[in-house]
Amino acid sequence: MTELLDGDMAKVSLDGVQKAISLALVEDVQVGDYVILHVGYALSRLDPEEAQRTLELLAEAGVGAPV
């Protein structure tokens, strides 16, 4: 999310593409946060620490020789 707009709207950005979305369903989202989107609404904040932890788990899970 890159910018708060009027009327509970916000601008999100992904690799240079910007889109206006609604924040009406979430609380406490800040500029700089990543959000989960669905039909034009943010459904929740994405937790960067948990995301990092998941990636580590994924990497761990794949340890061992590829088949």
Binding site: L14, D15, G16, V17, Q18, K19, A20, L37
Partner: protein, 349 residues
């Protein structure tokens, strides 16, 4: 396109609108044609003011094509309906290996269309034609009542000359042939969608709309005898074009997702819209099918051309009674690449 010189006052291009008299076959029509089309397309054949153009053509077989252009919005990042109407038709000629010569242009205008916009479109068509080395030698203008069209529709037809010995056609691909694309895919479709209000998203992506005849000339010069077919993946994206060719040539195709050039911004826009870049339109790209022994040469030649800098080998042809287009995904699994049969994208050409 008859444009006798008349003493009437000049068109008010800045503030005027197309009205029904501009399509009625009278002086008003002659004036519109004279001051907007003849002026911007400036060439001898059109200036003659006949209902047809007559000219000599160099030796060789003739290629002929047509396309209608109904893109919405009419003006989009990287082009407009005018340049598109030239590029699209020039490209369909070039895909036969033809040197494009002449175009015709049929305009269907909606009553009330701003003359200033028509002028911009005609300028853009004229410029695109000059750049591609073709002339718009004959044309027609109709005006329909407000609400019976959408601003302006353009149908262009084109002819070109195919050098002897070259025989490119959709049924010519054979197992083993290598598939190349001349650059990043999906740019045009995303540029159009980003300019549609209701999609409410913004990008810096420009349409790739461009005339490919120069690139093709280089390709033919270098690898002519090894080229099997060329096609520009417009409506339906490369997915549609690959499927068409698989069916026409009665083969299967195998491509690699990792090999596909896709701009990050295009990928992101597709993510927002739930689209696959494979299904998104291009207007300045081509797919080339070439004998395997010439694939590297062709790639080099394509990359040497400004419109082919990001060319890539994306796959090859195989025997397949089902004529499937299959793709190895970047993730590692296999999938079919199918025609899009989902709901409609905005009018992109």
């Amino acid at each position: 396109m008859n444009a006798p010189r008349l003493r009437a006052r000049k068109l008010d291009i800045r503030n005027g609108h197309v009205d029904l008299s501009h399509g009625a076959g009278g002086r008003a029509m002659a004036q519109l044609i004279g001051e907007i089309f003849a002026e911007n397309f400036a060439n001898d054949l059109l200036a003659q003011g006949n209902d047809q153009a007559v000219f000599s053509v160099p030796p060789g077989r003739l290629a002929m094509t047509t396309d209608g252009y109904v893109v919405s919005p009419l003006f989009f990042p990287g082009g407009d309906i005018g340049s598109l109407a030239v590029h699209g038709t020039v490209n369909d000629l070039a895909m036969a290996g033809a040197r494009p010569l002449h175009l015709s242009a049929s305009f269907i205008l909606e009553e009330g269309f701003p003359l200033a916009d028509l002028q911009t479109i005609a300028q853009s068509m004229g410029a695109a034609a000059r750049e591609a080395g073709v002339k718009i030698v004959t044309g027609d203008t109709k005006v329909v009542e407000r609400g019976k069209a959408d601003g302006v529709f353009i149908s262009t037809a084109g002819i070109g000359v195919v050098p002897d010995g070259l025989d490119l056609s959709g049924d010519k691909a054979r197992p083993g042939d290598v598939i190349l694309v001349s650059g990043t895919i999906g740019d045009h479709g995303v540029a159009i969608m980003s300019s549609r209000e209701n999609l409410a998203f913004e990008t810096q992506i420009l349409s790739d709309s461009a005339a490919l005849n120069g690139l093709v000339a280089d390709m033919v010069a270098a690898c002519g005898p090894h080229l099997k077919l060329l096609r520009d993946p417009t409506r339906g994206g490369i997915a549609a074009t690959l499927n068409e060719i698989a069916h026409q040539s009665k083969i299967g195709l195998r491509i690699e997702e990792d090999a596909l050039p896709v701009k990050a911004e295009v990928a992101a826009a597709c993510e927002f819209l739930g689209l696959d870049p494979l299904n998104v339109a291009n207007e300045g790209k081509l797919l080339a099918f070439v004998a395997p022994e010439a694939a590297q040469d062709l790639l080099r030649v394509m990359r040497a051309h400004p419109l082919g800098k990001e060319s890539a080998i994306i796959g090859a042809c195989v025997e397949d009674p089902h004529h499937f287009v299959q793709m190895r995904t970047a993730f590692g699994g296999g999938r079919i690449v199918d025609w899009l049969s989902g709901e409609q994208l905005p009018r992109i050409c």
